[in-house]
């Protein structure tokens, strides 16, 4: 760093490297045919300093490999700054540079090599750190997902070049063409809602009226909510508000795509499925919740995940795990058996709440007894 500083502090250009990107030779320089030999020498000494002998380089690499990450980062960020500064200084101290910028072809090459220097100055810190960034950085919310880490060799195999050949490029249609008379897929999509034909306040009024008619199962607050189904109905009625309201009144709301309410039994089965198969929703569907599609299970999972029910579920699992590790080999199989039995019993009996103590099997009670001192 000292060398770089000296370049900046003596001589005519004391401004910081970041400011003097464009070199503007002073009148004085032009008149006196200014040629800065001194900088050349300085560059040479800089270069000499950089090309250490191989053994020294090896030993420094060795040292770095044992260094803690923070130190290593600090070291490289420092180096990077130095490297970023020096080529720029070099640019600015050559008056001819400004001339050359006119000739893009020649310049491109030269510019590239300088860019290359910046480009390569990537702090090649710990490669492991970047790998972590790529795949297993875990945010607190997704802690359950931390197990995703494909093995490194897979990543090394990745094609790192763009391939050229008929196996790789798309076939570009030649020229332009018109669609035929019938638009492709004209009737295969569905316009669910077009806001344009009606004024905003008409729509709002309609939504208000529709909301009072629909009598939702859960109070939704005073705010006007956008009800996709109702709007779709309005669309189907050709934006005829009266007709749409009439249809709502006689209750012919078309079969909704939104989720119907899940029964307690389905919830229970779902939870027991998650316990057995993790997030393999297909297996859960096959073995536990046959009344729902896999898609519905996925949808339910995301809503369930943030519910109180899930917290209770997760707590329970956590306690169980702890118990197994506390008494290895003692109660494992029996407990699991009981658990399964219990799961089955529960799933057949509707309206069971987790809070209901009468449904707790003996092992559960043991658990709760163990709960107060969590470290025990």
């Amino acid at each position: 760093m000292a060398d770089v500083d000296s370049v900046n502090s003596d001589g005519t250009e004391a401004t910081s490297a970041s400011k003097d990107k464009l070199f503007d030779p002073s009148v004085d320089m032009l008149v006196n045919d200014f040629d800065d030999e001194r900088t050349l020498e300085e560059e040479e000494t800089l270069a000499a300093g950089e090309s250490e002998d191989p053994s020294a380089e090896l030993s420094s690499l060795q040292k770095e490999s044992n260094m803690p990450l923070e130190e290593l980062l600090a070291l490289y960020r420092y180096r990077e700054m130095q490297e970023n500064d020096s080529p720029i200084d070099e640019d600015t101290e050559e008056p001819s540079e400004t001339m050359e910028e006119q000739e893009s072809e020649v310049d491109a090459q030269e510019e590239t090599s300088k860019l290359r220097a910046l480009y390569d100055a990537i702090p090649d810190s710990d490669p492991d750190a970047s790998r972590l960034l790529r795949f297993s950085r875990v945010s607190e919310e997704e802690d359950e997902d931390y197990d995703y880490s494909p093995d490194e060799d897979e990543w090394r195999k990745v094609n790192k070049t763009i391939m050229v050949g008929s196996d790789y490029q798309a076939v570009i249609p030649e020229g332009l063409c018109n669609y035929d008379d019938a638009l492709p897929y004209e009737n295969e999509d569905k316009l669910l809602w077009d806001p344009n034909p009606l004024e905003k306040h008409v729509i709002e009024n309609f939504l208000k009226k529709a909301a009072t008619l629909a009598k939702p199962p859960i109070p939704l607050g005073t705010q006007i909510r956008d009800d996709e189904q109702v709007l779709y109905l309005l669309q189907q009625c050709g934006h005829n508000v009266e007709e749409a309201l009439r249809r709502i009144r006689i209750n012919v709301i078309p079969n909704s795509d939104t989720m119907s309410l899940w029964s307690e039994e389905e919830c229970k089965n779902f939870e027991s499925g998650v316990r057995c198969f993790g997030k393999n929703f297909h297996l859960i569907q096959q073995n536990k919740v046959r009344t729902r599609s896999v898609g519905e299970l996925v949808q339910f999972y995301y809503l369930w995940k943030k519910s109180e029910r899930h917290d209770i579920f997760a707590n329970k699992i956590r306690l169980e795990k702890k118990k197994y590790t506390l008494h290895p080999g003692l109660t494992d199989f029996m407990d699991r058996f009981l658990e399964d039995q219990d799961g089955r019993d529960r799933s057949s009996s509707p309206n069971v709440q987790y809070s209901g103590s009468d449904n707790k099997k003996p092992t559960d009670i043991v658990q709760t007894n163990q709960k107060p001192p969590p470290e025990a």
């Binding site: 910046l118 480009y119 990537i122 197990d147 990543w155 490029q169 063409c177 999509d189 809602w193 956008d226």
Partner: protein, 431 residues
């Protein structure tokens, strides 16, 4: 500024797929976004479509028949029978075979394809498909969570009507699938801003990848280092895209809005805020060129949802409050429950100003090398409303005039500049 007609494509089932335990790609983010979009009332500003589902035939416009056939047949149950194919098509670890795989692909691909068609017919100015944007998929194989490349298929559709299509990619990963597909053509320019180096996926996207043969100089790569923030990103995005517009003059744009370039993404390493990310979208919107907007990466669910909801609001030009409306997914946005939470990142910005300036200059020099605005032969351009005999299609009998009916159906390509009578450039387009 005239308000734009926006169409939004969403299949209510597209969110209900699951890549498998621990996989960072979560299609359910799409349901969360849709729920926010509705509850912000943004659908009052755009047409909502439940899109067409793409057929295997549509997918084969880009992909090989064998590969699509494989995707159609493989399921978690019969996977054993396909062991050989799995590695051949790169399906397995990153791109798992999950239940409903092909359905998922046909939903997101159909939406992009239809968006492209609606743009071609001037049915809208902006088409949004957040479920699309799977930019890594290759002609013969899956890659990086992507199976079918809906972007390539969408662009191929746009090329039916547009002489030049621009592809912009702000995902943290390089848009390698799209770049490769159009590597040899000058009709599609691909521009990708991404993290490059240290074996970051997919490993391509070096600034020296500039295209080949006729496509030389028509692939633009802007490799960035980790930790780039809003200011630095804007410093490079704006000049690069401005130069690209100046030299390439596309008549349609496809914008891939990968949200893994946001701060604190599970896989990404940039430090953009939702506002900084949205700034790019706003910039592209204001170019006043028909645009297909697609999603892409984005692996921290709550942030993806915030980002794309905000960007939907930008595209329909409607301000929405920072306070999130109540939705069934409200709990996902704890503890702040806002649209623009403060960005807290430990990631240092490794992109120096000099580096960004140098890259911009390099890109500019390359762009100067491409001939100004290549074009397809003039006689193929579809006619506009005023019929001229010289605009008849070549293959048609020259003695028969274009019927009025046919003529009404033809669409004029915007941004195709003419002089005199045909001048349609009355509205000045800012470059």
């Amino acid at each position: 500024m005239s308000t734009k007609k926006v169409s939004y494509f969403y299949n209510p089932d597209v969110g209900n797929f699951h890549y498998g335990t621990g996989h960072p790609m979560k299609p359910h983010r799409l349901s969360v976004i849709h729920s926010l979009v509705l509850n912000y009332g943004l659908h009052n500003k755009m047409q909502i479509y439940r899109p067409y589902k793409a057929s295997a035939h549509d997918m084969c416009r880009f992909h090989s028949d064998e590969y699509i056939d494989f995707l159609q047949r493989v399921t978690p149950q019969n996977i054993q029978a396909f062991t050989k194919h799995l590695s051949h098509y790169n399906v397995g670890d990153d791109c798992p075979v999950f239940y409903g795989l092909f359905d998922f692909c046909s939903m997101y691909t159909g939406a992009s394809l239809e968006g492209a068609m609606k743009l071609n017919n001037n049915h809208c100015d902006i088409a949004i498909n957040w479920s699309g944007g799977l930019h890594h998929a290759k002609k013969f194989e899956a890659s990086g969570f992507c199976y079918v490349n809906d972007i390539v298929i969408g662009i191929l559709e746009l090329l039916k009507y547009h002489t030049r299509v621009l592809y912009i990619d702000i995902d943290v990963h390089h848009g390698d699938g799209v770049q490769e597909a159009f590597y040899l053509t000058d009709r599609v320019m691909t521009v990708s801003f991404h993290k490059y180096g240290n074996y970051f996926f997919p490993g391509t996207g070096d600034m020296y990848e500039i295209g080949a043969e006729s496509g030389r100089y028509y692939s633009v790569n802007v490799p960035l280092k980790e930790g780039i923030d809003d200011t630095s990103y804007w410093q490079i995005f704006k000049p690069v895209i401005s130069h690209v517009m100046e030299f390439f003059q596309p008549s349609a744009i496809v914008l891939q809005c990968g949200a893994d370039s946001l701060a604190n993404d599970r896989l990404g390493c940039f430090s953009l805020s939702t506002k900084g990310h949205g700034e790019c979208v706003k910039f592209v919107r204001d170019l006043n060129v028909p645009t297909l907007v697609v999603g892409g990466g984005g692996y921290t669910l709550r942030n993806v949802a915030r980002c794309w909801t905000y960007e939907t609001s930008l595209l329909v030009d409607e301000e929405i409050s920072n306070e999130l409306p109540y939705t069934e997914y409200f709990e996902f946005f704890a503890p702040d429950f806002t649209l623009h939470p403060e960005v807290v990142t430990r990631q240092e910005n490794a992109n120096s100003r000099q580096y960004l300036e140098a890259i911009t200059k390099y890109v500019y020099d390359n762009l100067k090398m491409c001939q100004h605005s290549p074009s397809v032969q003039v006689h193929d351009v579809p006619g506009d409303a005023i019929s001229d005999s010289d605009k008849m299609k070549e293959e048609e009998d020259p003695d028969v005039r274009i019927s009025q009916e046919l003529d009404d159906k033809t669409v004029t390509v915007k941004n195709e500049f003419y002089d005199g009578d045909k001048d349609q450039d009355k509205e000045e387009i800012e470059v």
